[in-house]
Amino acid sequence: MSETPLPAAVGPQDGAAPPLLEIADVTMRFGGIVALDAVTFSVGKGRIVGLIGPNGAGKTTLFNCLSRLYQPAHGDIRLNGGSLRRCAASDIAGLGIGRTFQSPALFASMSVLDNVKVGAHARGRNGPLTDALTLPSSRREEREVDQAARAMLAFIGLEDAASRPAASLTLAARKRVELARALAARPLLLLLDEPAGGLNHQEVAALGVLIRSIRDQLGITVLLVEHHIGLVMSLSDQVVVLNFGRVIADGPPERIRRDPAVAEAYLGTRH
């Protein structure tokens, strides 16, 4: 895998510009189990940040806190300095956080194109009344949504599948449609939950290219949960390692690779 240097990624993480996403002291408990224990890290604007850790480390739990599906017991999550504590789950997309799910959560009965159009919901203004009467303004918005959705499908390379039922696609294609759907909201930050899960070698390579172009061409910051270490290391500007709900390492991939604590978490202690 070629590691071409990316101009947007260079420069120290704590530069002059404030980070896009700050996760500060987030703690989440399920009954007696501490799923997240004072998790703190931040994601700079325009970066690809990998979030790794063994199974059960709390990666998806953290994503669900970011999506406001879970309410953390302590701590705060800030996007562009604004706290998300008081937001509903449905406010998050409008604020600029898009996400994909571990197993693609497409709307199975809809066409591929309609799935992507739902992605543009947060940016739309049409209400039930303007829809019912089909005012000129709502027609215009529909046209724009249609164009944007087709452009997103072209971006992920699936424009030919626009009118196919979403349920009929392969896993790799469904994952791509889910990406296009998240991108249709024009997010500032994209959360990807194991995008490479279940993909073959060739598909993973193509996914890496796509994620990089999401950042480079669309200027979207990416937070990536992934088990495919090769992919994470080749894409990320910064890698955060979780183990048992705690951040055990946070830094550029070269440093994470050499970190003894990370090796221990993955391979166990040497006796």
Partner: protein
């Protein structure tokens, strides 16, 4: 080069391109033909059949309303007869007590039923699937008793008799055919509004909530708001249908709005195609004609025949008549078009426009 890598992972063949440019025009011509047929129909059938067809269209509006909630949004209601009754009594009370002209009772019936639906939809947010069905079942069971209880408004057991409205004097048709045309106009308007609503941002949100509520919320859809809205819109259609039924029948009484009516709407919805707009008409036909047909076949066990008819429909067309036949017709049309295109491509001398077959 990067682009080609992206494209390479999509291995499934792309069978479906965008529809042919003239498909929209063809659909419009088909729709206008059907509307013309519906306008002519009452003048070629007997007066009793005119009444029956009017009731078919009223039931179609009701089924359409239920489809918005149950089909598109996935909330099953067994109690929509209650909202149909609310619409019917709103019209009856306004006409009988306050002398409101029949046509002016439709907007208040719609608004009152919308408000009732929103009020009922708010607690319904806490119930999913079968639990919501049970809660709404209670509404269906209570409706006739509630109507009897408020007897100084509803006329109790006796109900309310209404005088059937007359057509405007410059129009030389009888009142049944006049009512047929009014109900036809209401049905067409209802179908148009439903189609507009369901094919836009709102409709996509409703289906998204049905298919995957968590993903819908993550994309910014306020699920509680849209589910309540679906309830209110659905009961608005019910209210209009109920008011039209009161006007057309000229009579309302508590026993007409029992549990069976609520169940009929759901049966009509399932038979016609639960998440379709055109299926509502099939549903209306089923509700109006199948009980009578069953009675004609066997007056000893009509409901066994009714059940058999339901089984037959659901077994042969599990997606409902429109839901099952619609995709089949679209596929056949596409094949015909492809064959025609291949045929036209074969001899290049002709432009292929003037062909008829």
């Amino acid at each position: 080069m990067e682009k080609s890598v992206i494209g390479a992972t999509f291995d499934a063949p792309a069978v479906d391109r965008y529809p042919a440019p003239n498909a929209g025009t063809q659909r419009w011509i088909a729709a206008l033909g059907l509307i013309a047929l519906a306008v002519v129909l009452p003048f070629v059938v007997s007066k009793y059949h005119v009444f029956e067809l009017t009731m078919v269209m009223i039931y179609a509006i009701a089924v359409l309303g239920l489809n918005i909630l149950a089909g598109y949004n996935g909330q099953i209601s067994l109690g929509h007869g209650g909202f149909f009754a609310a619409g019917a009594y709103t019209a009856a009370i306004l006409m009988h007590r306050y002398g409101v002209p029949y046509w002016a009772t439709l907007p208040p019936a719609a608004l009152i039923c919308f408000a009732l639906g929103v009020l009922f939809g708010l607690p319904a947010l806490r119930f999913e699937g079968p639990y919501l069905a049970l809660v709404t079942l209670a509404l269906a069971l209570a409706t006739p008793q509630l109507l009897k209880y408020f007897d100084n408004w509803t006329g109790g057991q006796q109900g309310i008799n209404l005088t059937k409205p007359l057509p405007p004097h410059w129009l030389v048709i009888d009142r049944d055919r006049w009512l047929y045309l009014i109900v036809l106009a209401a049905l067409l308007l209802a179908m148009r509004i439903a189609a507009n609503l369901l094919h836009g941002r709102t409709g996509r949100a409703l289906v998204a909530i049905r298919d995957h509520p968590i993903a819908a919320a993550a994309l910014g859809i306020d699920t509680a708001r849209y589910k309540t809205l679906a309830f209110g819109t659905s009961t608005l259609f019910m209210g209009v249908a109920g008011a039209l039924a009161a006007i057309v029948i000229g009579y309302v009484s508590p026993e007409g709005y029992n549990l069976f009516l609520s169940l009929s709407f759901l049966v009509g919805s399932a038979v016609g195609g639960i998440a379709t707009i055109g299926g509502a008409i099939i549903g209306g036909l089923f509700i109006e004609f199948v009980p009578n047909l069953a009675n004609d076949i066997s007056d000893a066990a009509p409901w066994a025949i009714y059940g058999l008819a339901m089984l037959l429909f659901m077994y042969t067309m599990p997606q409902g008549v429109v839901g099952s036949l619609g995709p089949w017709i679209t596929r056949s049309m596409r094949q015909i078009r492809a064959q025609r295109a291949a045929f036209a491509g074969g001899d290049e001398e002709h432009d292929g426009k003037g062909r008829t077959s």
